[in-house]
Symmetry: C2
């Protein structure tokens, strides 16, 4: 039997507005799912059922606030909330209680949303994992750093969640867990009250189970009127097949599924042509690591000075130790390289509507000590381009494999509309 927790946010919002579903019943159904599954999945860092139900009842009793009226959402635990502690994924901040809601949380509440809880983040949205497992197989990573947000939405504990991406931290968990992830153009969603990793890259992103829900939540978190996605046709769509410089890091299964996806788009009428990354992209990955090293070590200055002993071995040796060695001249050169890559991509995409590229190298790797490789996500993140991942394939281990669509910087709504048109076609084509 269909339970409210399995509804899309769009459908639930429609029923709430029509009076055939209450926010309280929806939230209670999500809580039931969490109760049943949380022991295995471990998606939540802070979860207060009474607070969630209280908000839901207030939404049911109060006037309509906005497009996500009565809909519960999860928030990555590097984002400040006034009613729930915010731990930034670190023992340094265990029990830390911010004074205020981050704007992205407050605006979502002002749009009618119900804060369901805080979802597990890796330590400071970096490498060291939290407790979350992959909802399809608890022996495998859910991906990171927005581990809990990706797992909670995929596991139907909540229809919507907020994450952040500095490398691949929104798209990868969505791909590994099997839901839709949306990494907007850089700067779209207000970033105050979000613990910084690398300011030049940090981007707030969204999780849902379909594209209409992404558009709905996008309106809610931006404080804008909801505009349902326009219809888009795959016929004549100019798709760049972008294998990236990382192609040899993709598994055979991922390579095969990318080619199959390209073929399915072509069969549906799209013009699919190769889109190699050239010119300044030779130095792209190195430049991004340099920028991240310089900025991360500074963003965490307080924690390094006062609590280095409470920081993980991974963050100390893999992130901070090389980061502190980056010189200002290297940082400036790296910023210039990335700016050149952005300009190159803008020019190169003039004749393309979107790029098709892997969401991750493979299915979610086995083990929980490492959240996987962001190598296929940095293209969109560091060029400030919008990206979505669609859960359309299954790999040989029975875990989801997502396909990533990347749009033009600022062309988010257009990308979402194209992704909506592509989703059923690609799902139909999905390989197992």
């Amino acid at each position: 039997m269909e339970t409210p927790n399995s509804l899309t946010a769009t459908e639930a919002a429609k029923r709430i507005e029509a009076g055939t579903l209450t926010s309280e019943a929806l939230v209670a159904s999500c809580i039931e799912r969490i109760d049943a599954r949380e022991d295995v999945v471990g998606a939540w860092k802070a979860f207060d059922r009474d607070l969630a139900l209280k908000q839901a009842r207030a939404r049911d009793a109060g006037p309509r606030r906005g497009p996500i009226q009565g809909i519960p959402f999860g928030v990555k635990d590097i984002i400040d909330t006034m009613d729930l502690p915010t731990g930034y994924g670190s023992p340094i901040y265990e029990g830390h209680q911010p004074a205020a809601n981050a704007p992205c949380v407050q605006i979502s509440l002002d749009s009618g949303g119900v804060l369901m809880g805080k979802t597990v983040s890796t330590e400071f949205a970096s490498r060291h994992p939290g407790k979350t497992t992959n909802p399809h197989n608890p022996g495998h990573t859910p991906g990171g750093s927005s581990s809990g947000s990706g797992a909670a939405v995929a596991d139907m504990m909540v229809p919507l969640a907020v994450g952040t991406q500095t490398g691949g931290s929104v798209i990868r968990p969505a791909a590994y867990c099997g839901c839709v992830g949306y990494k907007p153009s850089y700067g779209l969603i207000a970033g105050y009250g979000v613990k910084e990793n690398t300011r030049s890259f940090d981007t707030i992103g969204l999780y849902a189970r379909d594209l209409d829900d992404i558009a709905l939540f996008r309106a809610g978190i931006l404080g804008l009127p909801h505009e349902p996605l326009a219809g888009a046709s795959l016929h004549g769509l100019r798709v760049g097949l972008c294998r990236t410089m990382m192609w040899d890091r993709a598994s055979a299964a991922t390579q095969e599924r990318l080619e199959s996806t390209a073929a399915a788009l072509a069969k549906a009428g799209a013009q699919v042509t190769d889109f190699p990354l050239e010119g300044p992209f030779a130095g792209f990955e190195e430049a991004g690591k340099t920028v991240s090293g310089f900025e991360f070590t500074r963003a965490l200055a307080y924690e390094r000075a006062h609590h280095l002993d409470k920081m993980s071995e991974a963050i100390r040796t893999i992130v901070i130790e090389p980061g502190v060695l980056v010189t200002f001249a290297e940082y400036q050169r790296a910023l210039a390289t990335l700016a050149a890559c952005r300009a190159w991509l803008t020019d190169a995409m003039a004749d393309f509507d979107l790029l098709l590229t892997p969401s991750a190298p493979d299915e979610a790797p086995e083990g929980l000590s490492h959240t996987g490789d962001a190598c296929f996500n940095i293209l969109a993140t560091w060029t400030y381009s919008p990206a979505v991942t669609l859960p359309v394939h299954t790999g040989p281990k029975g875990l989801p494999i997502g396909m990533q669509l990347v749009g033009r910087r600022g062309g988010d709504m257009s990308l979402l509309a194209m992704a909506k048109a592509a989703f059923p076609v690609l799902a139909e084509n999905g390989m197992k």
Copy 2:
């Protein structure tokens, strides 16, 4: 008799390193100045003499940490500090105690600095003023929003201070109070832990009384080795005389002094030619206001939802009321206009080393209810270009008039070196 508080940071650092001055004596001297003048100037929001002296003694006893070893600095009260409350210029946050130091504070401490206290900010770095007066005449505004930082440094209460600029909030207080203000290229100094006004524009800046001190503090706050400023020659320097679209808002005294400054630079061998702002700059001011309206109302979402009654009439009617009306389409168009202005300026500055432009329309206006007009500061802020103001003139009311130099984006060190070469020439030429 010369007292340590009147030393430049560079000279004080030299003496501390040589063992002829202690940090404790320097800090004690600054405290003495604050005790003598704070009743009139009102530069400080939070000031704890014991904490400052304790840090100074620890610097004297401990190993050398970095370039600003033992030097006290003030921090604008919209920037988080773990040992002093941080009020963001608003009664909403009276007594608010952040858990951590903002990176810019922590890195300055790690570089040997002594946190002297928190300097007065206008409400959320917006329009509504704090208690600070102009150190040259308490009946006049010190400018804002970094009112306390500008006044404290100009009044020799502290040699260095941190401010932030979204419109003209670093340069204008420096110009009004009569010290050097430096607004770096956008994004230079780590911005986490700083209450946001408009993320697309917010820039951390520095106050000192000469250019060497700016370079010294810049190294300290960035966690970089100190490189003294290179020598620069005014001979052959290509200076664009930029009256901007706001020329008719400048007083006769300011106009006269700008022309006189241009003549002095030409006499010293610079090639001074007119630099009109054209093309997309027709829509520049309007676009910036649109961006600020959209972002500010979202950055303050929590305060608007929970504490609107504690927000000033000015912020509610002049900032928030129009801000909430900005549509997403208008915001996107405004961002595009500003991007076009940046590109236009980059091209137009290819043949120029720097621009000369007013720092403010006039001397500090009379009265404390309004901190003055940022119209001559938005050029540098919104185009992400570095700028300095030099206190080289006095106006008819006996108050300082600064002259502003604007460099190429990313060319901060070059701008500071040119400004250092120009400062004595322009001061010599200074009109009274």
